[in-house]
Symmetry: C2
Subunit: 532 residues, 2 copies
Amino acid sequence: DTVIVEAGGLYALPGLCDAHMHIESGMLTPARFAEAVIPHGTTTMFVDPHEIANVLGLAGVRLMNDEARQQPVNIFVQIPSCIPSAPGLETPGADLGPSEVAEALKWPNIIGLGEMMNYPGAAAGDPRMLEEMSLTMAAGKTVGGHYASPDVDDGFHAYVASGPADDHESTRESDAIARVRQGMRVMLRLGSAWHDVESQITAVVEKNLDPRNFLLCTDDCNANTLVFDGHMDRVVRHAIACGCDPVVALQMATINTATHFGLERELGSIAPGRRADLILTDDLATLPILEVYARGRHVASRGAMTIETPMINWPDDARHSVRTGRRLDKSDFVITVDKSPKDNLITANVIGILENLAPTRHLRFEMPVVDGVVSIDVEQGISQVALVERHRETGRVVHGFVHGFGYRGSMALASTIAHDCHHMIIVGTSHAEMAMAANHLAEIDGGISLWQDGYEQATVHLPIAGLMSDSPAVSVANELENLTRAMQACGCSLNNAYMQHTLLALAVIPELRISDLGLVDVNTFSLTEVFV
Amino acid sequence: DTVIVEAGGLYALPGLCDAHMHIESGMLTPARFAEAVIPHGTTTMFVDPHEIANVLGLAGVRLMNDEARQQPVNIFVQIPSCIPSAPGLETPGADLGPSEVAEALKWPNIIGLGEMMNYPGAAAGDPRMLEEMSLTMAAGKTVGGHYASPDVDDGFHAYVASGPADDHESTRESDAIARVRQGMRVMLRLGSAWHDVESQITAVVEKNLDPRNFLLCTDDCNANTLVFDGHMDRVVRHAIACGCDPVVALQMATINTATHFGLERELGSIAPGRRADLILTDDLATLPILEVYARGRHVASRGAMTIETPMINWPDDARHSVRTGRRLDKSDFVITVDKSPKDNLITANVIGILENLAPTRHLRFEMPVVDGVVSIDVEQGISQVALVERHRETGRVVHGFVHGFGYRGSMALASTIAHDCHHMIIVGTSHAEMAMAANHLAEIDGGISLWQDGYEQATVHLPIAGLMSDSPAVSVANELENLTRAMQACGCSLNNAYMQHTLLALAVIPELRISDLGLVDVNTFSLTEVFV
């Protein structure tokens, strides 16, 4: 059955590997994600299904792994290590701990432990974290790292010694050098919003460190990036544009990555018994992806898929995961105070959005109170934020205020992507629209929806766990474009505005966040009140 | 407790790793082997205790691992994969199969499966071999290779696809290239008798292949080499002398090897939580090993140990392993024929020794018969060979003839090293001396002993499993020197003469061998008779 491919004048390269990524960031199922990236030459992905695990627990990881295993390309799955991300400060849909890690390590296609985000815990010897890492290493598998602090002192040393073998959170050349000196492999990241290659690849290009311990990854790519810019081909081209030798840049996206995960014989070889994943191109520097082969099959040609990517039958649990337990009413979003404050003003703790940055600021504003109800003071740039519990059918609503979106008029934006627990987050200037947007998301099983003056303006449909679409990437990208325009029409001109929205509950990054348990002061890792 | 070492003007290098070796080849216990090689800068060894496993089974592997774990340097142990080496043609002291592999994989310090010597079986899908490899890979550990054929065709492809990740048996540049093309790592070997570096390192030095997949190893070093020439330092110096860049040669004995076994973070790093194994030297090309540190401890200085290497208490089973069950008499070695043959001559199948080569030739000689007894015809260059069963106390004697040692007079040489089953092999020109040598070895619990004219002339004492000494390397080296001189005095001037003796039973290498079941025709993998 041998097929002979005439490729005179072309280069044959190993298929590209993404060393660390989250499929959910594309808002696509594994099948739809694969369909989007294969024409870009990606044939291997190392994925941490951290988001779906927050919604559906180990069953969600299993579903991702089941669909991953059916793909024509390699999607190796890591077991999420930190669920919940912020223990005691939030309630995910399910917990994952050492016993779940031990269980998942028995499954096929599991490649290791997902990024160890609890770096203070790992460094301090938190028994739960150490046990998860120890189980993984005993199984001969790789522990992923995530060390998000700029310090490379004692805490860093303790963290690296505890188990994580790689890190994608470094941003400076000196960070990268510190990591390889410590015996880690560095993952240089170019995601939709992360730009960490240029600042660190100088360690190889200028400082001449051995490149074998440098890998490329995306971490998070949204559907727009995948559809309009590419995937790992984009990262390799960028590394070359930063002065990296093309062959070295390609090694950082192929053999280096395969070696890191113990797959150096399995991947990248054209030999009997191996996975013949390869790309044909006619230029190593600009890297046009002409033809793609995965496990010996021709899977894409000149940017288009030549085969389909199989989907699993996602079960009801996954398709109807927005469980608020009741319809919400605009009264659910009204914030009242017991007695009229002095001058009808009350001091509120307000989440302050920072343009282009993941951290927020902890702001304080004087808010007007009218008839015992706290007004949403758009003049001061403030919107109301609400988190609706959606995993256990309590429909419980937690209140807060946020500054920086710039919304005006009568509107609300609701999302069931709400890192990391993925409850429902609603930001709005009107209680009525907040209820409308929330109820709509419950009806359509999740997504991101913007309502204005009583009408739906734009919706991204994400019916799988409220996180992912099983429609093609281009349709999600179009919905996202519409959403961005609709947000702008409401006065929000932030970069990556919907990402800022979905990060409001990320209770591990300073300074102030909202969770299902209340407002979270991330500087002190404690819950706090809306009003001072 | 920090100790500051002033090393101005010196280079600090990672300690050297031997990628593949057998401790038993040094005729030394792990502790004594470590003591001999640490001053040469070896701090990590990957060892396959194949010989002791043939004598004592899994218990022998356990004892080696127990002593290995106590050493100040790293001795990682592989589980022997092929015991017996030639199923159906020989009887080792114990079998090792998939269930023993599964058991040993649970032990600490086990790094993978030992060299898969049954390459025809692995290539043909022998279920026992596939199960051993599959268990090892499922545990995330490395399968060692041993592909001793010059063919790199279908059988080679099937072999590599079956699991082995490395090979140290290639001898030509084209072999080395074929192996890395197939996704294997190549181990370039310089042992006491193996010289496979110079002929293959051209793949890197001249053909510019990426050196990261090339490793250095010794496979087999006797005590003389260790005492007089060195260990991995000798191999690295040789690689440099062959034109290899010193840093690349050092990588082939450090980071490349560590990476192959998934230990790249553990070994070679000076960082918290890692094993600080390092060497201080003042010249990278001539590589004098000035100081050696292992796991942060100063273990050797200017060629001498600064600490002791701990020994286990070897149990009676291991110390009294020469179990013939009875004293042997010279009559046990007399070969009689039922009726007088024509002209008093009988045609015998004779093992023909080839100078400097492991294979033997299958020769035929007319042997004189006197009074029904076959004479040992030293005029034709023939000695008698006998294999005495020593594992199950049967004392059974198998007879044969051997050509090429050149022995004269009245002598016999007996050895309890007799690859791979390690019964007792005696070669002699006199039935009486054959019995004396055999009985002496049984009394002293094993070794190699040469008797002449009724007296012991030289003996290497190997009381541990009949294979190893727990005396210092220099004492074993001196005994071996004496033995070599005594063999020369008996007329044998072969290179590595005692090695040729100990390989007479190696029933996996053509053409004619002797086992406890009879003469073995290795070309047809069948038993044959002494007389045609």
